[in-house]
């Protein structure tokens, strides 16, 4: 009897608390990424990572500004720049002040332009664009603006870390560069050739080619060329089925050297490579070792996997976005004046929950962080990807990677 009274009291208090926190208005964050179509699984997994991050990092710890919570609102852009602009307008009309987006630099380029125009014309409803994955260097160079912040290392920073690893490996004397025939594939190839030429002039680029994107049925001929060129290492910016097809063909046809990639993990790719990728696949990115050294970080991943058993923490930087935004809002003392929040975000230094320092460079709004070359290897659950027993572990680390990389950005502040 007594127990049930207690229970009733607890329920009543809980309900009252719930009601009061619901009354304090939530700070909404628009997630504009594919939630339908070919890349829906990536987008959906990203949204789950965000929802989990705002819940765990912000809301459960009492929110910001004395009790305001974060709320994620998903907007489906179907990976189309045109649709993204429509969704951006919908989000702005709903009074949302913070936009996160990551999949496709084409979309990010369109968004950053639209946000800049909107903010100049509508000083009362300005928004911030927090880019967590689009890695086209132009976004923090010639196309930079005050409203755009990038939390991922851009393509050149990643290539810098990757070529550092190649530089240190004396066994690599011949490199084959292959990629998808579009802007990103070309950017990766150009950066690879330029940086290898600088760091290891003795390395011979034995192949540098682009293949049609999403059109190649069988990558075997490409694998044959790589073997025939006697390459010691392969560099590719491929993603999705082009990554899996190319990687599988290369491995199957007897290649044993490292394949340096940007995106050969998660979304089914890790599971599909399985044992065959061990010792061959490398991936350059930010993020934790698996399992992470820090107990709290381990607990975070366990809790995420308990909630989303099919999901992956494949974009660890999502927590950095949420954490830094919360800190900036606290520091600015407002979530409505995005200029103040942007100013607080600029130059912010903080610790990542995955280890290492984060620094939002004021010159171009590029986050400077540790970048690692990961190896595809056996990883115990729940720190693996795709529940496959395989995942990513640190191989080499570049601390505060490319902290002084040049930028052509001329930031105009409001």
């Amino acid at each position: 009897m007594k127990r049930s009274v207690n229970l009733a009291a607890a329920t009543a208090i809980g309900l009252a608390l719930g009601a009061s926190s619901a009354m304090a208005e939530a700070i909404k964050i628009a997630f504009i990424d594919p939630l339908s179509g070919a890349f829906a699984s990536t987008g959906e997994n990203g949204l789950h990572q965000y929802e989990f991050a705002v819940e765990t990092i912000v809301n459960e710890k009492g929110g910001v500004l004395g009790g305001k919570t974060f709320e994620m609102v998903g907007f489906d852009n179907q990976t189309s720049p045109k649709e993204s602009l429509i969704q951006l307008q919908v989000a702005i009309d709903q009074g949302i002040r913070f936009i996160v987006q990551g999949n496709s630099s084409g979309v990010a380029n369109a968004l950053t332009e639209a946000v800049e125009k909107h903010n100049n014309r509508n000083p009362d409803s300005r928004v911030l664009f927090l880019n967590y994955s689009a890695v086209d260097p132009a976004l923090t160079n010639e196309k930079c603006n005050f409203w755009h912040f990038r939390f991922d290392a851009h393509a050149d920073i990643k290539m810098d870390a990757l070529t550092d690893a190649i530089k240190a490996n004396d066994a690599i004397n011949k490199v084959y560069v292959v990629g998808q025939d579009y802007s990103f594939g070309k950017a990766v190839a150009a950066a690879a050739v330029a940086m290898l030429g600088e760091k290891r002039p003795d390395i011979e680029i034995v192949g540098n080619e682009l293949h049609p994107i999403g059109k190649v049925k069988d990558f075997t001929p490409y694998a044959r060329k790589i073997i025939a060129a006697e390459a010691d290492a392969v560099i590719t910016g491929n993603w999705g089925s082009d990554m899996l097809g190319l990687g599988k063909a290369i491995i199957e046809n007897g290649f044993t050297g490292p394949i340096f990639t940007y995106y050969a993990a998660a979304d089914g790719i890790t599971a599909a490579f399985g044992e065959s990728g061990v010792g061959v696949l490398r991936l350059v990115a930010e993020g934790p070792n698996n399992p992470p050294a820090d107990e709290a970080a381990q607990e975070y991943i366990r809790a995420f996997k308990a909630k989303y058993p099919e999901g992956n923490i494949s974009q660890a930087r999502v927590t950095n976005v949420v954490d830094m935004l919360a800190q900036a809002i606290e520091k600015a003392g407002t979530a409505d004046d995005v200029v103040a929040v942007g100013m607080a975000l600029e130059g912010m230094k903080t610790e990542s929950m995955w280890g290492g320092e984060l620094y939002m460079r004021p010159e171009d709004h590029q986050l400077i962080q540790n970048v690692h070359v990961f190896a595809h290897s056996k990883v115990e659950a729940p720190f693996d990807f795709d529940n496959s027993g395989y995942g990513l572990t640190h191989e080499t680390t570049v601390e505060n990677a490319s902290a002084d990389i040049a930028t052509t950005c001329e930031m105009e502040r409001p």
Binding site: A38, P212, V216, K217, P221, R224, S241, K248, A271, A272
Partner: protein
């Protein structure tokens, strides 16, 4: 020289795989006049069914069961779908199969998700059979070649040496006469559709582990199969075989040699402009053979349609 031999083998594998898809499609097309847009979707279903079966009872039962299930599904689609739509003419049939392709893709995504699934060759075939100057030929590829050849021979035997084959061949060209002679032509149609889709299922089972099993696999292969049957000639098994091999070798060799159009131009006596960015033909100067490779089969189809509309081995005009 060694690379040529390796490419011949790779192209043979690709070609025979195409053949398994196109042989079913060409029979269905010539017999029923139905352009089955969903044919490649049955190929995808074969791969996914086999993946599911291989997870519980292994690859080999999957190789047998998955195509059977796909074939039965195909027969049911013909009996309860296509046959009803048939009386309204070809356009509704076309739309029906097109819708079916979309439906199957959505169903696959619903059950297996939008990502790649981990469908691997059986462990017993995961070794290098032999190498040619450093290029290893996996045992699984050789296995693919033998399966495809066995199916081709079996099909040829059935079509040319058996009574059923005789009726099918007759129904191809003179369906009404065959019906008047007392044969159950709708049943023959259903059987051909079932066997055709089952063949696509076999192709899916053996291609899934090497080309990847993902919801886009039907689209990647779908259009090229139509090219194959047009080039080979409608209703011709030999045509389907020759066209498949031709296209397999063309795409493999095109992807293998980095010949640039620039080399061709220079051989023809043109001079390379010093500043490419100013040149009107800068794209043409920087193109290479691997980049244009995937278009070559379509180019071949256009040429065939222009100069030999009935295809290489076809008896009827398209």
């Amino acid at each position: 020289m060694d690379l040529i031999l390796v490419n011949l083998i790779d192209g043979l594998v690709t070609g025979l795989l195409l053949f398994m898809l196109s042989s079913g499609l060409t029979l269905i097309f010539s017999m029923m006049g139905v352009l089955n847009f969903a044919h490649a979707s049955f190929y995808m279903l074969g791969a996914y069914f086999a993946y599911q079966i291989s997870r519980s009872i292994g690859f080999w039962p999957g190789l047998l069961i998955a195509p059977l299930v796909v074939g039965v599904l195909g027969a049911l689609v013909e009996r309860y779908g296509l046959r009803r739509v048939h009386k309204y003419g070809h356009v509704p049939e076309l739309i029906f199969t097109f819708g079916l392709a979309l439906l199957i893709e959505e169903i696959v995504q619903f059950f297996w998700g939008r990502s790649q699934v981990a469908f691997d060759p059986p462990a017993i075939l995961q070794f290098t059979l032999f190498s040619i100057s450093g290029n290893s030929i996996p045992a699984y590829k050789v296995f693919m070649i033998f399966i495809s050849l066995a199916i081709f021979i079996a099909l040829l035997m059935v079509l040319t040496r058996t009574r059923v084959g005789l009726i099918i061949q007759a129904a191809l060209s003179h369906p009404h006469t065959v019906e008047t002679l007392g044969h159950n032509v709708p049943l023959v149609f259903m059987g051909v559709f079932g066997v055709g889709t089952a063949l696509a299922g076999v192709a899916g089972v053996i291609a899934g582990p090497v080309l990847g099993t993902f919801p886009g696999m039907a689209i990647v292969l779908g259009s090229i199969v139509f090219v194959t049957i047009v080039v080979g000639g409608l209703g011709s098994l030999w045509g389907a075989l020759v066209a498949s091999l031709l296209i397999g070798w063309i795409t493999t060799f095109a992807a293998s040699y980095n010949v640039g159009l620039a080399d061709v131009f220079m051989a023809l006596g043109f001079e390379r402009p010093d500043d490419l960015s100013e040149s009107m033909f800068r794209d043409a100067w920087s193109l290479t053979l691997p980049q244009v490779g995937p278009i070559l089969p379509y180019l071949l189809m256009v040429l065939i349609l222009a100069f030999r509309p009935r295809g290489l081995f076809g008896k009827r005009e398209v």
